[in-house]
Amino acid sequence: MNAAYSGVPRWLIAVAAAGALFLVLPLAAIVLRVEWLRFGELITSDSSTAALLLSLQTSATSTVLCVLLGVPLAFALARTRFWGQRVLRALVLLPLVLPPVVGGIALLYTFGRQGLLGESLRILGVDIAFSTTAVVLAQTFVALPFLVLSLEGALRTAGTRYETVAATLGARPTTVLLRVSLPLVGPGIVAGAVLSFARALGEFGATLTFAGSLQGVTRTLPLEIYLQRETDADAAVALSLVLVAVAVIVVALAHRIQEGDAREP
């Protein structure tokens, strides 16, 4: 459908175009800078595939963790009332605005060998220093707020009317959660999970600070790109393009899910 009159001033379109260009141009620059002749060879080297696989694997694990922890957290924030709730919400969203390096330092002093929980973990026989677990922790730390934020929004928009009806039909809280609430905000959870995955995939600062960098163990794609930059700029660019491609797919997926959600009555 074409609207006859948009009511948007023309100068605004011009500024908008500048804004869009600002975002799109750097991506185009990467595409232009790629050595296409060596592209296949660059992104299929041992270190590159190891980094890509590790990134996908850790991001997927982090996303599962985000869903397991974030869904209950979002419900608690959106559907219950307790003392200190507003403060908790602010704290939960803090990793969104913190520089990732700060997150890495915070994790170091929590789960690190000399951190808050490090000693207890060591007694339990768990040493997460320089392990893939540390990468997953760093990614989950930075990605969890995305899931909580988007799901809490979905929950508030959805309201509790269906839950009330379900209760008067004899459904206990757990039944209401599983058979009514979760299916209703399902698209919100999936969209939040996709965003979390994307954030986990791009995680760099916290991983570098907290988990270290070793091929196949802790060196995810962003860390590999950072390292390749030192010696082989072409490889760094090629891998950057791979990361951009994965991100584009993820964002498109999230967009589709949200559009599908909006089409529901």
Binding site: R161, Y162, T164, V165, A166, A167, T168, L169, G170, A171, R172, P173, T175, R179, V180, P183, L184, G186, E264, P265
Partner: protein, 347 residues
């Protein structure tokens, strides 16, 4: 008749304090102005609002008593709201089978029961549809089946027809009349037709208090509250009995034909029809009429006749004379009514 529900509730935050009972198989209509506390009452009974004080017993089961309160899912109280609120991710049949499934009924049996209830509300053909594809009337029909499929001890209906088209409401009303027959139910409504057709008894709540409680017909014929009077389409003035009529707290004396010997100084209601009221711009003199100085608040024209409102009083005159009088909201005027048109009864 045995009592099904016996309840009292005080909710301080909303200034509601009521006490009522519902006999087994009886349908009670709850009416009253907006914000009177009708929906709060339903919320208390359904377990969604916690009263500050009071108790409720439904078929021998204590719903709440002081601090103790049964959760909504354990009360056996069904709730049907203005909107159908069918679960969008379930089919119509799954929606209706939801309640029985929660009660532990095996899947097959629950679906059979759902089919039966869909049949009861003439919606058997909708079983496999998705809620999004239903019309408002169809959805509400399914919602009725869903609420009944749990076989509640008490069914609460919160303006179940208010959101429907005028064209489909009568059909659903007939369905409700059929399924509510012999069922303990409380229906909140703004529509007198609902009260007349669906309810055995009417309770009028105003300002958080029950101001009227009686068989539907007698409440409408002899209203004791201004709300019931406006429902019945009559003017009502309350006061105390004096030898030839009623004296209001503000000192207005309303002369009436006292058709029976009433004790003096008792609280009484005087009612008269809007059709018996004449409207004047200047105070009428020399006639044996009651004259009330009023300020016009509203005009409502229906064809040849026009209703002139002044607060809770109204006069119905011809549209021609309304035009001649040149009345409009804000204008000072006088309503007069012959004493022979005013009837008085004790409240």
């Amino acid at each position: 008749m045995p009592v099904s529900l016996e309840c009292s509730a005080r909710i301080d935050a909303r200034n509601v304090d009521v006490r009522l009972s519902v006999a087994t198989g009886e349908t009670v209509a709850v009416m009253g102005p907006n914000g009177a506390g009708k929906s709060t009452l339903l919320g208390v009974l359904a377990g969604l609002v916690r009263p500050d004080h009071g108790s409720a017993v439904l078929d021998g089961k204590t719903l709440y008593d002081g601090g103790a309160s049964l959760p909504p899912y354990a009360r056996g109280v069904g709730l049907l709201a203005q909107e159908a609120l069918l679960f969008p991710h379930l089919s119509v049949l799954e929606n209706v089978a939801f309640g029985p499934r929660c009660a532990g009924v095996p899947r097959k049996l629950a679906r059979a029961r759902a089919h039966r209830w869909l049949g009861e509300v003439d919606a058997a053909s909708l079983a496999d549809r998705r809620p999004a594809s239903l019309s408002g009337g169809q959805a509400q029909r399914v919602a009725v089946a869903r609420a009944l499929a749990t076989e509640p001890s008490l069914l609460l209906l919160d303006e179940p027809l208010a959101a429907l088209d005028i064209s489909v409401a009568p059909m659903l009303r007939r369905t409700l009349r059929r399924v509510l027959d012999g069922r303990s139910a409380i229906i909140v409504t703004h529509d007198m037709v609902d009260a007349l057709l669906l309810a055995d008894r009417v309770i009028v709540i105003d300002g958080g208090r029950i101001v009227e409680d009686g068989p539907t017909r007698s409440v409408l014929e002899r209203p004791r509250s201004s709300f019931a009077a406006s429902l019945a389409g009559v003017n009502l003035i309350t006061g105390t009995t004096v030898p030839d009529g009623v004296l209001t707290p503000t000192g207005l004396h309303l002369a009436a034909m006292m058709d029976e010997e009433l004790p003096l100084g008792e609280e009484a209601a005087a009612i008269f029809s809007p059709r018996a009221v004449a409207v004047h711009r200047a105070r009428p003199t020399g006639s044996p009429r009651n004259v009330l100085a009023v300020t016009i608040t509203d005009l409502e024209q229906h064809g040849a006749r026009t209703t002139v409102r002044a607060g809770h009083l109204s006069a119905e005159i011809t549209t021609a004379s309304a035009a001649e009088l040149d009345v409009e909201p804000g204008v000072e005027a006088f309503f007069s009514v012959k004493s022979a048109e005013v009837s008085v009864y004790l409240r």
